[in-house]
Symmetry: C2
Subunit: 254 residues, 2 copies
DNA sequence: CATTCTCCCGTACGGGGTACGGCGAAAGCG
DNA sequence: CGCTTTCGCCGTACCCCGTACGGGAGAATG
């Protein structure tokens, strides 16, 4: 399946849903099951966490709640909006410790790792094409907090925004590879090492080491060093250090 | 829809498909329509380019070729394998100019931009979760070429691999945002600016600028500077410079 | 008790991937 | 030239999806 999309529906309704304004259904009035946006969202996150975004269907959520499928549409306009709220809810989980006296480098490191961890807890977040940012309360609070690490360094507002975007983009890209590696092992029931051992002979016949000397050597070295084709966590930390060094050069020049 | 997955099927069959080994069907034998893996792949890429990965269905590909749906399965084991071949075919498009006397920094810049352009030509590539690399001839040639930019700098093989991964990851992450921004404008039929103008009032009621001063200020500044919420190309180039600076620090230290 | 409001949800439609099995034409052979 | 075998082709069917629509049921109100 291709990536889910967010938004799309009536923006007013979406914002009302995200901020839980409007005295929606069953606000103390009536309703036999204690259904509601929160329970639906929680169920959605549970399913997506456990079985991936592909397993998240309206029918599945409804079954999980012991409710008819179409009942969900009383509280949520559609699947896209449900995913929006799931996203904002997940953003709300990120820890946001007081910076204290730590420097920007430590703060950015913490932010990157927090996002890395978030994507590991909720891999399905990586399969949602947001396009337009989800403007929920938690998303905005998170953005505000993360910007805080870069204020007072002499950077312009535009530079601050681009720099944060760079760090978050790296966390996302690295997490994407890590998560995909885990998922492919689950789906195929095969360790990376096992898989390579099974394919190496055939691949050896196909690719000419003479023609691609660098690829074969580096690929082998990387695989050797990490016990598999790639060590995602090492790649994350390595990349983060390079990026922080690059930011440091920019800051020094201001 | 959630991300498509690659692989999954019989790996021997997949490799045979990617490398076009095996005297598959219609190799001069017979077949009324001149169907074949190549025509199927080309059709798949055309559809995905034009209408996105969501529009890519086996029925759609077959219709495009004037052929029954199930005929495709004579040449391709399934949709996942078709996408694998589509990916490797796209990798084959990347330009790989002789490095000449240019330095590593220029080479890496060229590689990053080439990948950025590739994702813009084929946005659907960003929606495929590869997990395990697609081991086709073009993918390997591309990997070998790109590694070439980082040899002879005194880095270890593991560092070379991680560094390339960092640069490619940035190109991918930046392209993802750029492409999603374009797509959301197409889907919603609304310019980013138009969209913000429509939501600003309502959002202004919801979020307290006192509580999130940094977010509102920086968000406004970034939007002002680029004429929209974000300028993806600027973000790409800005991030690339930071990353190259960070790599430079590593190289200098060797 | 009657009315009304509103949550709830059964049914149905158009789309998806692909397993299965049959059809018909070309290739190989005598 | 005719028979047999092979194999590309594909119609049908099954189970999944999101959700439009309209009816049913139960509680709050009068």
């Amino acid at each position: 399946m291709a990536t889910e999309h967010s938004g799309g529906g009536d923006p007013v309704r979406s914002l009302a849903l995200l901020w839980r304004t409007q005295d929606g259904p069953s606000s103390g009035r009536r309703g036999r099951s204690d259904l509601g946006v929160d329970r639906i969202v929680r169920a959605g996150i549970e399913i997506a966490d456990a079985e991936g975004l592909a397993a998240l269907s309206m029918r599945r959520v409804a079954d999980h709640l012991g409710v008819g499928t179409m009942s969900l549409y009383t509280y949520v306009p559609g699947k896209a909006e449900l995913i929006d709220v799931m996203l904002d809810t997940a953003y709300g989980e990120t820890a946001r410790p007081e910076p204290g006296a730590t420097g920007w480098r430590e703060q950015l490191t913490g932010i990157a790792r927090e996002n890395w961890a978030l994507y590991h807890r909720h891999p399905w977040m990586l399969q949602v094409a947001t396009g337009r940012a989800v403007l929920g309360p938690n998303a905005i609070a998170k953005y505000d907090y993360e910007l805080g690490a870069l204020t007072g360094l002499g950077l312009t507002d535009v530079e601050v925004d681009a720099t944060l975007s760079l760090v978050l983009g790296h966390a996302e890209a690295a997490a994407r590879r890590a998560v995909e590696a885990v998922q492919v092992e689950q789906r195929s029931g095969m360790t990376d090492e096992h898989w390579w051992r099974a394919h190496a002979p055939l691949l050896g016949q196909l690719v000419d080491p003479q023609r691609y000397p660098t690829a074969t050597r580096v690929g082998a070295a990387a695989g050797q060093a990490h016990g598999s084709a790639h060590d995602p966590e090492h790649a994350f930390e390595f990349g983060l250090q390079r990026i922080l060094d690059g930011i440091e050069a920019l800051v020094a020049q201001r």
